[in-house]
């Protein structure tokens, strides 16, 4: 009888731990809306799905979960080198470019890579926030001209709810974010 009680207690503990440990599904959401044409696109992508599918795509520049960024290099912009350099840089503003048509600001704020672009001509504002874990994952286990998309997706699963990209223009607004809800109603 005592053995049975012990067994039941252990079973309840194991079951409870399993339920507690089960993490909810994380979703990458994309919402594109155009109030003028009344168009709305909503995408809710489970990250677990992306994590399994992306490594299976071997097409063009995306191979084994890693994307070749040779074109960026050709334009004298080495994304990997920039991320690598930012890793050890202190918090603060790194680049501010102010031109008649646009303002660009790149900074490391609260452990996140933040990019703000304002296009004055098209009246478009772009904000990109990349959590530092994701930025580091992007350049992990890669050669010079690669970004590790699979690793970035895994890193995204472990960050809290966050808005990654917002684009607001006269015509359209775009928002990309991460959370545990399977709808875009937020």
């Amino acid at each position: 009888m005592k053995t049975l009680k012990t067994f039941l207690l252990v079973a309840v503990l194991v079951a409870g731990t399993a339920v507690w440990a089960a993490s909810p599904e994380r979703y990458l959401h994309v919402r594109v809306s155009n109030p003028t044409t009344h168009e709305l696109v909503r995408v809710n992508l489970p990250l677990s799905l992306a994590e399994k599918v992306v490594p299976a795509i071997n097409n063009g520049q995306l191979q084994n979960g890693k994307v070749e960024i040779g074109d960026f290099k050709a334009n004298e912009v080495n994304v990997r080198a920039i991320l690598d350099a930012l890793k050890t840089a202190p918090e603060g503003e790194f680049v501010t470019v102010q031109e008649p048509d646009s303002d660009v600001r790149v900074a490391k704020e609260h452990g996140q890579l933040v990019v703000h672009v304002t296009d004055k001509h098209d009246k478009e504002k772009v904000d990109v926030t990349i959590p530092w874990e994701v930025a580091q994952a992007l350049i992990s286990e890669t050669s010079e001209n690669q970004l590790n998309i699979s690793a970035a997706i895994k890193a995204l699963e472990n960050i809290g709810d966050a808005t990654l990209v917002t684009v607001v223009s006269n015509e359209e607004s775009v928002r990309i974010w991460i959370d545990s809800s399977n709808t875009t109603e937020k």
């Binding site: 599904e25 044409t37 009344h38 799905l49 599918v53 490594p55 399977n182 709808t183």
Partner: protein, 145 residues
């Protein structure tokens, strides 16, 4: 009399087992409603388990093009379908325009696609398990895998 009763029970049992086997993989549901006055109205519910069996009777030359088109995507399909099975139910894609509404979602073990546009209302529901085996069968129709 007892013999007849036994035969009856045997037949009933066999029918129930066959029914259970046929419906074990769920049902493919297709509804098409063309909005014009003389448009087609089609409603089809097929046991998904019958699709792989039916594909055996389709001449291979009719599946050749589909097979060639599918083959490059088999690794992606094989990765996606088991992952989709494990995903919670929910809406994956929704497109709303003044004259068009598209909804792609997972309901139970099925992928459900609904399109409502200017011309048609289309509803397709496909059980994931049946989709994978059928896709493999179509891909294999054009020779060696």
């Amino acid at each position: 009399m007892i013999l007849l009763a036994r035969i009856g029970v045997g037949l009933l049992g066999s029918a129930m087992v066959a029914g259970a086997a046929v419906s074990s993989e769920g049902f493919i549901s297709i509804r098409v409603h063309e909005k014009q006055a003389d448009g087609t109205h089609l409603s089809l519910i097929v046991p998904a388990a019958l699709v792989p069996a039916t594909l055996h009777f389709v001449p291979r030359q009719h599946l050749a093009e589909a097979s060639a088109n599918l083959r490059p995507y088999l690794p992606i399909i094989d990765a996606a379908i088991p992952a989709l099975k494990e995903c919670p139910d929910g809406v994956f894609v929704e497109v709303s325009e003044p004259e068009e509404h598209v909804l792609i979602r997972k309901v139970g073990g099925s992928i459900v696609i609904d399109v409502n546009d200017h011309d048609d209302i289309v509803h397709v529901s496909v059980p994931l398990r049946a989709a994978q085996s059928s896709i493999h069968q179509i891909a294999a129709a054009n020779g060696e895998m």
